[in-house]
Symmetry: C2
Subunit: 272 residues, 2 copies
């Protein structure tokens, strides 16, 4: 495994002002890099991200875009860290890529929410199926376990957060965190978790997604796409994320802080 701190920050010279005093000092900046994903030898998209777990990010991004179904689909993955490039080969046809790309509007939207609410009706494998089992029907988690999980996430990412403005996410079982990710982007952090799950062949329907950040509709849509039954956050959900979680059968828990939490939807998965 790579050293978690390698390349996370970079040193620059800044001018620090305190009251009337001004001085030149060294400061640490959180690194942001452009990562270009090449899909089947075509340049596909450039994301701006923190330079860790680039393979996970690319795999998670493509999976959530509907362009990589699972590990069996992944014919080749090659990361060129210094160039900021990931090359992925999958069985997806040029026609499918074109079709999926056309469904979305082709303008850069930056760091913002752009999925359609209608996406919920197109969850992979869930279309037109009345017989589908409820998501994570068997998952039961104690409130005390949720307190512990969130405390672990915040503790594990505290060093990284020292530079300010970093989001963390993790995949967990009720009793422990399986792995975590950190990124300048909330969505990148979650895509890295999804990608790592695929690369490790981990079944998500009985797992919990943890996030340090706000839960917007797009986070819930991602959870629904991969079949996660529970999303818990240190921060607040939005109104639309609560509506979508209700509809998707996801337990949404927010403001997990100390020995408190709020349950917004499907509260029956949280027990004592």
């Amino acid at each position: 495994m790579e050293n978690l701190n390698s390349g996370v920050t970079t040193e620059v010279e800044i001018e620090r002002v305190k009251e009337q005093h001004r001085s030149k000092e060294k400061d640490l900046l959180i690194r942001e890099i452009p990562l270009t994903i090449f899909l089947n030898e075509q340049e596909f998209v450039t994301l701006f991200c923190s330079p860790q777990k680039l393979d996970c990010l690319a795999v998670g991004f493509l999976h959530l875009a509907g362009l990589l179904h699972g590990k069996d689909d992944l014919k080749e993955i090659r990361v060129e860290r210094k160039k900021g490039m990931v090359f992925i080969k999958t069985g997806v046809s040029a026609g499918q890529i074109e079709k999926i790309s056309e469904k979305k509007t082709g303008i850069s939207r930056g760091e913002r929410e752009t999925s359609s609410v209608r996406d919920l009706n197109f969850l992979p494998g869930r279309e037109n199926r009345a017989d589908i089992s409820p998501l994570g029907a068997s998952l039961q988690v104690k409130a005390g376990e949720l307190f512990e999980l969130m405390a672990s996430l915040l503790k594990a990412s505290s060093l990284f957060k020292a530079t300010g403005g970093v989001h963390s996410a993790a995949l967990a079982r009720p009793d422990k965190i399986l792995f975590l990710s950190e990124d300048i982007g909330r969505h990148n952090a979650i895509d890295k978790i999804v990608g790592e799950s695929i690369l490790k062949n981990i079944f998500l329907s009985d797992k919990i997604l943890l996030s340090s950040g706000r839960i917007s509709s797009e986070v819930v849509l991602k959870g629904a796409k991969v079949g996660l039954p529970m999303i818990i956050s240190h921060s607040a959900p939005t109104s639309l994320s609560v509506e979508l979680a209700e509809k998707a059968g996801i337990t949404l828990v927010g403001f997990v802080r100390g020995r408190r939490l709020n349950i917004y939807t499907h509260a029956d998965r949280v027990v004592f």
Copy 2:
């Protein structure tokens, strides 16, 4: 002007857990809505945002995408709040829309950074011009003024922030904030500022952009596109945002907290 609190939040019933105690309570959620922008009678993009200043958001978004040059370009704007739709007519041709859309990769990227670093070479009106004046050559701001501006931003948005997870941005002169915006998305908040500047015909080359949130490369690219000479934030910049600000001639100031701040680039605009 609309009441700033109308529709900002919505009430839901939640289950609150505190230690071993569990109770049903009412809670306020920050509202998130889908906003679909129709450009020249074609559905163009759906953004997820807070339901204020929707006209500003649509205008700012289209301007930053290169599809609306200024107020003269705007033939019609109609907001249908309840439907979550904005209809805009501009002089831009279908061919231009197509061309600009094709420059970007056509996959939803959610709340993440996706602009190309190469965008810096395509700043509107700055291509191939060696004779262009340096950005905001005349702007000089006292450090004390920056402390006051950030304090004003945080104070003005404190009520809204009570619900958690909201970003604020503002446009300012050295001596005062001109207007501010708040949104669940950092980029939406900035697009609203850009849009309001266009609708009010405000010249940006001697103004300051304030942000409560982290400064990533995409924020700096937006600032560069509209000719803003200074961006100040309560939070941290990333390494790439500092590189781009250096190149674009933008003064980047971070961690404006109390009577302290850090100047990352073009420090000569900050005086005592």
